[in-house]
Structure formats: C-alpha cells, structure tokens
Symmetry: C2
Subunit: 235 residues, 2 copies
C-alpha cells in the first residue's frame, strides 16, 4: 500500500507528533511493520524544535522522555533560558514539572516550547495524559503562553512542506500523511472509546491505521491556510 503511494508520483512526507520516541526508533518500528521509510522522510517535533533552539540561541530545560534526550545531544542545555516540554510519561514528576516552572519564573522573557498539545492517548494499559495537559499546567502557573511545535501548528506543516520542496500555497500538489487523529475522525482508524481532539493510538495500531489510510488516501488541501487537516480522497 505504501508502495502504491510512492508509485503515485506525489511527494510524500511522514508528519508525526511523536515525542516519546526518537526518529530512529520510530522508523525502525515502522520498517518492522513493513513500511519502506527512512529517517529523512519524517518530520517530527524534536528535530524541528532543535532547529528553532539553534536559530534563536535558546538553551532549554528539557522536560522530556529519556528516550528522546539523544535528539537534543547537540543542544546547549546549560543555564537554561527556556523550557521545552514533550511527552515525558513518568518524567512528569512533581519535582520535574516544578523545576520547569521555576526556570520559567526566573526568566525575564520566558519561552515555553511544547512538542504538540495533545490531551491524551491510549496505551494497552489505558488512557495516558499527553503533553498538552502539562503544557496547560505550566501556562496557567507561569502565565507564559506555550509555542506548539507539532500538529496543528501551521509552522510545523510548513516545515514538512519545505522538506519536500513545496511551498505552502502549493499544498494541493503534495501529500502529508498525518496521524491517527484525522484517521479516527474519518472512521478509518477504530480507536475504541477515545475521541478527538488529541487522540493518539499505540504505534502498532497507528501503523495499521496508516496502512488502511493508504487504501483511501487523503490529500491535505488547506493544511497551512486554515490549520486543519482537511482531507480529500485521492483514490
């Protein structure tokens, strides 16, 4: 099915909000599931954030999962002048969240970057709080509005488009394969009792959903213009 997508001649980019796995881990998992995909074809929040940090000279306090810490290897984290928050799971201890809060409160121009704004997702063990919940906690306590890197941020979609050499206004000419949220809305994925927004599924389930999605592809027409993933069937 992925093969069929590639044969279409359309430009393809994998665009994910996953921030608990490195791009390497993610690609390995998708390859195991039969996807012909390389790291260079993925737009994910951690590398996009690193780019922003470098451009703006920001040194983050990282409230993130240990498994994505390697993505920030090239980033100076000494004497933090911003906070980066991602899906940290058990890393969302009171101590860690409080430490992030204190960093924000001591800054004259506080910056809070959140890798996505999902509400929750589903694991085999049940529903799990996503990064958006802790983003809201920090926003409320510190009075700082977070900058979201990831879907549905238009900047994130734009960076995915740029990666395949397409300008935003050329959106209809390309395909961005999005995650489970859109698939769930369209009824392709069957994520149990979960409801959008912010829905995520387990990776095996998402991979299945993606596989199904290739049978009924979506063309993302207005991605950048209206911030929504307005899907339109191609086949």
């Amino acid at each position: 099915m992925h093969h069929r997508l590639k044969q279409s001649g359309l430009k393809v980019r994998f665009c994910t909000n996953e921030s608990q796995k490195s791009v390497g881990e993610l690609v390995r998992l998708l390859r195991q599931l039969g996807f012909d995909i390389s790291e260079g074809e993925v737009t994910s929040p951690a590398p996009a954030t690193c780019q922003i940090l470098k451009e703006r000279g920001l040194r983050p306090y990282l409230l993130i999962h240990d498994s994505v810490r390697s993505e920030f290897d090239q980033i100076d984290t000494s004497n933090p002048n911003c906070v980066v928050i991602a899906e940290a799971g058990e890393g969302f201890s009171y101590q860690n969240v409080n430490d992030a809060f204190r960093v924000l409160m001591k800054l004259e121009n506080p910056v809070l970057i959140s890798l996505g704004n999902g509400r929750y997702y589903k694991e085999t063990s049940g529903l799990m709080l996503d990064v958006g919940a802790y983003m809201k906690a920090l926003e409320y306590a510190s009075g700082v509005k977070a900058e979201v890197v990831g879907k549905p941020s238009p900047e994130f979609f734009k960076s995915a488009l740029r990666a395949i050499g397409v300008e935003a206004h050329q959106g209809p000419e390309c395909i961005l394969v999005c995650g489970a949220h859109k698939l769930a809305q369209t009824g392709i994925a069957a994520p149990g009792s979960c409801t959008p927004p912010g829905l995520r599924t387990t990776w095996p389930r998402l991979a299945t959903a993606l596989a199904y999605s290739f049978l009924g592809l979506y063309r993302h027409r207005f991605i950048v213009r209206n911030h929504n993933c307005c899907g339109e069937r191609l086949f």
Copy 2:
C-alpha cells in the same frame, strides 16, 4: 493584635485555602505563633468539600496530600464517581494525576472538585506549583470544568459567613481575615519576587503577615457580590 481584633466586637472568621495541612495542624501552628484561635473558627476547603460530597452522594478519588487524608476519613472513596484535587506536592506523580484523569474519563457525568485554584506559592526552597496548575491539566485533558471549593469561590465565602451567622448581604457587618494574596496586593506582606494571583507564602511568613494585617484591618465589603476581596481599612 489578634486580641484587638476580637475586642472590636466584629464577628471574625479565619478563611483559608490551605489544603496541605489539616485544620488541626493549621490551628496548632497558629497557636504556637501566638494566635488565640480554635478549630471551630476556621473555614477551610477540606471540610467544606466533605460537606458537598455528602450532600451530593459523591465518592471521590482523592488526589491530595497524605497529611489531609484524615479530613476525609468519613467519606466513602470506593468506586469513585468524582475526583477531588488539592495541593498534593509530591503526590502529583504522573501515575496519580493519570489515575485521576482516568476516573474522570470513565464517568458519564464527571465531577472535578478543586480545593482552590492557586497558581503557585513560596516555600523556603523556592516557588512551588499549586493545585490550580494540576486542576488546569485535568480540565484540559478531560474536558471537565472544575468546581473550585475555596477562595475566590463565592460559595466558599458564603459558607464562612454562614458559620458566623451572617447572611451574604450583611457582608459589611463582618470581617473575614483572608490570606497572603490580599495582603501582598496591599503591600503589607512582602513576598519577595512573587506576584499575585495565586500567591501564597510559607506559614510563618503568612502568620507574620496576618499579624501585621491586624494593625490595619480590612473589612471585606463585597466578598460575595463581586467575588473579590475588596478590602477597606477599619482602623
């Protein structure tokens, strides 16, 4: 100073948002600091919440500090049909917050009660996230709006007024001694770099602030009508 307040003949009620100490502990601490105060003179969120839980037949999942758990001794917590959140400190682990979230998500008519909505407070070790931050996290993730028991909820002030036999419209005839927030706004307390809203100080500091406040008392005129503690000097 407290003596002078009592001599004024005005009805006095101590009204606190403290939800990390039991009323007993709080009163012991204030007595040690020289305040002539009994448990019966305090309105605090935990007993007010117990009253609500009983009235509405609610069985809470308690996301609270261990030191106030005894306040809920008489409450049935089996098979929860609501969540009660208070200042839990280290109790705000990912696991605990997620468990509270799951309770909300499985309920047909979810109820989230928050003992206050403070943003942060100050301990000797530094700024600490207050219950309001986690209330916002749960609100965002679950889509459930919290009911706040504590200041600035008008119901909370009304219950304090009722406790001294005063109707809400008689507000100007009574005194409610409020916490550090108002004192900080008026410049009586000097909480360092903290700024309202949501400010709290350590208890010794609050006690000092309260002591100072008795030198320049505040009459809370419009407590219930406009939800604000509009202070007016009596002496």
